[in-house]
């Protein structure tokens, strides 16, 4: 899997030219990420529900997938546990969007191609493929059930006609190949058209099979299964920039894999203490640097980030850089440690910054400065006085994710009540939007929401006490080059795009 030099250039985000994006009226408009997220406005592209029926239907011929999606937009107010989306990820071109759910299924959406007569339909995502990635397992040794919930999906960059992605549950990572088949051979000698064997006595002539076009079929096959390497629950996977290796991180260890080798992995980080009694810190997330294949970071439950260089030693227990912000004594409480636990860490596309999400804030760190972040954004600071209740109902342990946009100028993360927040790093403006069924007509413009902290509540504001803590947006994704975002709210997937008037 050695990449030619010419193939590498697209990985370097600083050279990427962000193409013009067409608004529905057809006239080109500048990307909102260049003008700032506060000045554009977001519209709903489509809302997708993925119960099992969709996968069956999408296999049939001549299906107007838009009709399927619309039919499911009609109200299903139940939420099957298995349909709860647990991860969302765009691929490297943004053409495909993969979601994993608690039932172990992966659903891949493909962007509708732009066509002249239906220009307004560009930007919609339709179901491309559905497959069952992981099944529930039972660990007989420990008498424990292993959940089939997909924790993370990571795409590999495309190198041929097929797409490859890694999906993982708590214990096993799988490499899936998703390929299209639109031709099939016809005219076998020994088999007839239905595949039944022909009686050799009836064959009188020989013919050469030819490939004839067939209806498009998308098939997903597991190419590698990387199992039995993790004692604890895998929380992250990250593909290295060399595209030959990837790492998987669980609560106490990080393993480095080669894509070709499934029966071995290298352990590169191990923070398990000799005596489990002394355990006070676990790994919560890990990611490779986007350009330097020797560098990775991992975050901990104590609010620290460690950057490691694999060239320094085989076992990277000693960090190269250690990022930690000193605690603010005025905000100290019994929950300080819990809310400082980092739930997600992401490198910027440029590789210069890392972003971390803890319970109440998002922080942007410069890799060259370890003693404090360069930017801190309050996501929902009004919850700071509610921490005890949130501890009671376990919401304080929710793990929110965070994402960068394509140009690293805007960051986004989720909150409660189906709210999600965007912060523009350049203009320092932020916006709160809601992903909900009520105000989600297709192409409707999202209205910014505001949470009022007490005192008089204005008309459109919502008070902290009426927030619904069961509706939380933990998983979001941003298109790598355009202003299209995917927001997962329980079992609904919302796709919004930016519309600049």
């Amino acid at each position: 899997m050695v990449l030619q030099p010419s193939e590498r250039h697209y990985r370097d985000w600083s050279h990427r030219r962000l193409g013009p994006w067409c608004s529905p009226t057809g006239s080109p408009a500048p990307l909102s990420c260049e003008t700032g997220c506060g000045e554009g406005s977001w519209i709903l592209v489509c809302r997708l529900l993925v119960p099992t029926q969709v996968s069956l239907l999408s296999m049939e011929e001549d299906i107007d997938t838009r009709k399927i999606n619309n039919s499911f937009l009609r109200d299903h107010s139940y939420a099957t546990e298995a349909d709860i989306i647990s991860t969302v990820e765009f691929n490297h071109t943004g053409e495909l969007l993969a979601t994993g759910d608690k039932g172990g299924r992966v659903v891949i959406f493909q962007r509708e191609q732009e066509s002249k007569n239906q220009v307004h339909r560009r930007g919609e995502y339709n179901v491309y493929s559905t497959f069952q990635s992981h099944e529930p397992e039972f660990d007989y040794l420990k008498s424990l059930e292993i959940e089939e919930k997909i924790n993370k999906i990571r795409w590999l960059p495309q190198q041929n006609a097929a797409y490859f992605l890694l999906s993982t549950n708590d214990k096993t990572v799988k490499l899936w190949k998703v390929s299209e088949r639109d031709k099939r051979p016809e005219g076998y000698n020994l088999k007839d058209e239905e595949g039944r064997l022909r009686d050799p006595a009836t064959i009188t002539t020989l013919r050469v099979p030819v490939l004839r076009p067939m209806d498009l079929m998308v098939e997903a096959t597991p190419r590698r299964v990387f199992a039995n390497a993790h004692t604890y629950h895998i929380n992250s996977i990250s593909v290295n920039s060399d595209y030959e290796t990837y790492m998987s991180a669980d609560d106490l260890r990080i393993n480095l894999w080669n894509f070709e080798i499934t029966n071995q992995s290298f352990n590169i980080v191990d923070i398990k203490p000799a005596n489990m009694e002394e355990l006070t810190e676990v790994i919560t997330a890990a990611e490779f640097h986007p350009h330097h294949c020797n560098t990775f970071v991992y975050s901990s439950s104590k609010g620290t980030i460690r950057l490691c260089d694999m060239r320094a030693s085989a076992l990277c227990d000693r960090h190269t850089k250690f990022f930690e912000e000193p605690e603010d004594p005025s905000n100290r409480s019994f929950f300080s440690e819990i809310i400082s636990s980092i739930s997600d860490v992401k490198f910027s596309h440029s590789g210069r910054y890392i972003m971390t999400r803890d319970y109440l804030t998002v922080k942007v760190w410069d890799l060259n400065m370890e003693n404090r972040p360069i930017e801190t954004y309050q996501v929902h600071d009004y919850l700071r006085s509610k921490l005890c209740s949130l501890y009671e109902n376990d919401c304080i342990f929710d793990k929110f994710e965070c994402v960068w946009n394509g140009s690293d100028s805007v960051i986004m993360t989720g909150s409660y009540n189906n709210f999600f927040r965007m912060f523009d790093r350049n203009t320092k403006r932020d916006v709160t939007l809601e992903a909900s069924r009520e105000n989600s007509k297709p192409r409707a413009i999202l209205k910014p929401r505001k949470v009022c902290v007490g005192g008089k509540r204005r008309k459109d504001e919502i008070s902290v006490d009426s927030l619904d803590f069961s509706k939380k947006i933990l998983h979001t994704a941003w298109h790598p080059s355009e202003n299209i975002i995917a927001v997962a709210a329980t079992n609904n997937l919302y796709i919004f795009q930016d519309k600049v008037n």
């Binding site: 424990l144 676990v282 100290r332 409480s333 342990f397």
Partner: protein, 361 residues
């Protein structure tokens, strides 16, 4: 303290005989009966209350009562025992019903009694937790005792955390990150409580034991300080009485043997072990997370025996208190440095309540 414990139980036993048995169907408490088969021979304990399956909806103390601070001698009802977290955790508002969690309610044996949260409405009353609680208590070190509300809330937070730890341990797949965070919180709480108790050196320092051992929290968490006093006498009776009072859950006959082990571990008599005992219980939680032993329902109890000691301790308040020589208590109560006194009284009250349940016939 043995005397005191016994006295409490005996006092409660008699009137309860006439109480309606409908409250706890299937309870098979043998009150005052001969030694139960599980108790080591020679034990003088006359009480063989078996752990009953506590139906979560029957325990109906929904209105928390706040203790009037400083009211030594008051014996109001328990302040925090309420609907089991089984119900609380499954409020649909905040959790999509998870098949694994429903099994908790039907789980044979223990039903966790814990803090009843107001269902999913976050409240401003926890402003006290949110900010500067530690400093506030430290500020009052010069004035006579720290505000009782401070330690009360801290205590309730501690109990809640312990319940959470037990709970996540009972589920099929414990979330290590969550367990570690809760355990760290508990450690921090315990340290602060012991620091605070160190500030208020109670008058009966003549009792001769360190303030650490006086703390209810450490009593709840670790038997050692009590057992070390009573351990010697209990050793004569052939085994720690603590396990006898809290007999095994119906579904775990095999838990008996492992119970001895943690008991022995904790009878190591050193004052510093008071914190070590708690530490050990936490350790056991992590050990079992790490262990590869098969975990059937009985095995679950056997493995997590240490933590379940703590659960029992929470439920029964001062379960280990029986082994403290009675004079320790009597000297404390009247002089009552109110925070410890309040804590003791509250736990005595809880004890009453739990005894009612345990001993119900």
């Amino acid at each position: 303290m043995e005397t005191r414990w016994e006295g409490l139980l005996r006092r409660e036993v008699v009137p309860r005989r006439e109480a309606p048995t409908g409250l706890l169907p299937g309870a098979s408490a043998q009150v005052g009966a001969g030694p139960s088969p599980r108790r080591p021979p020679g034990s003088p304990r006359g009480l063989g209350a078996t752990r009953v399956k506590l139906h979560p909806t029957r325990i109906c103390r929904t209105s928390p009562q706040v203790r009037v601070p400083g009211a030594v001698g008051e014996q109001s009802g328990p302040s925090r025992l309420s609907l089991g977290p089984c119900a609380a955790l499954r409020t649909p508002a905040h959790r999509v019903p998870c098949p694994r969690q429903t099994s908790l309610e039907e789980h044979e044996g223990y039903c966790l009694i814990g803090f009843l949260p107001a269902p999913l409405r976050v409240q401003d009353t926890d402003a006290m937790f949110a900010r500067g609680l530690k400093r506030k208590c430290a500020d009052s070190e010069d004035s006579p005792p720290a505000p009782p509300a401070c330690s009360l809330q801290r205590q309730s937070l501690l109990d809640m955390s312990l319940v959470k730890l037990q709970l996540c341990h009972m589920l099929a797949e414990p979330n290590l990150c969550r367990s570690v965070l809760i355990a760290n919180t508990v450690r921090q709480l315990q340290e602060e409580m012991s620091q605070d108790s160190a500030w208020q050196v109670p008058a009966p320092a003549s009792a001769g034991r360190g303030p650490l051992e006086r703390l209810v929290s450490t009593e709840i968490l670790c038997r050692t300080p009590w057992e070390q006093q009573g351990g010697h006498s209990a050793a004569d009776s052939g085994g720690s009485p603590a396990p006898d009072l809290l007999s095994e859950p119906p579904g775990a006959p095999s838990a008996q043997a492992p119970r001895g082990a943690p008991g022995c571990a904790w009878e190591a008599a050193s004052p510093r072990e008071s914190r070590g005992g708690f530490q050990r219980s936490l350790d056991q939680i992590f050990e079992t997370l790490d262990s590869k032993a098969p975990r059937a329902a009985e095995g679950l109890f056997a493995d997590v025996d240490g933590p379940y000691y703590d659960l029992d301790a929470v439920l029964t308040g001062m379960v280990g208190a029986k082994s403290v020589p009675g004079d320790g208590f009597e000297t404390l109560a009247p002089t009552g440095a109110p925070p410890p006194g309040v804590s003791y009284k509250r736990d005595l009250g809880e004890l009453d309540h739990v005894v009612e349940i345990l001993v119900e016939t």
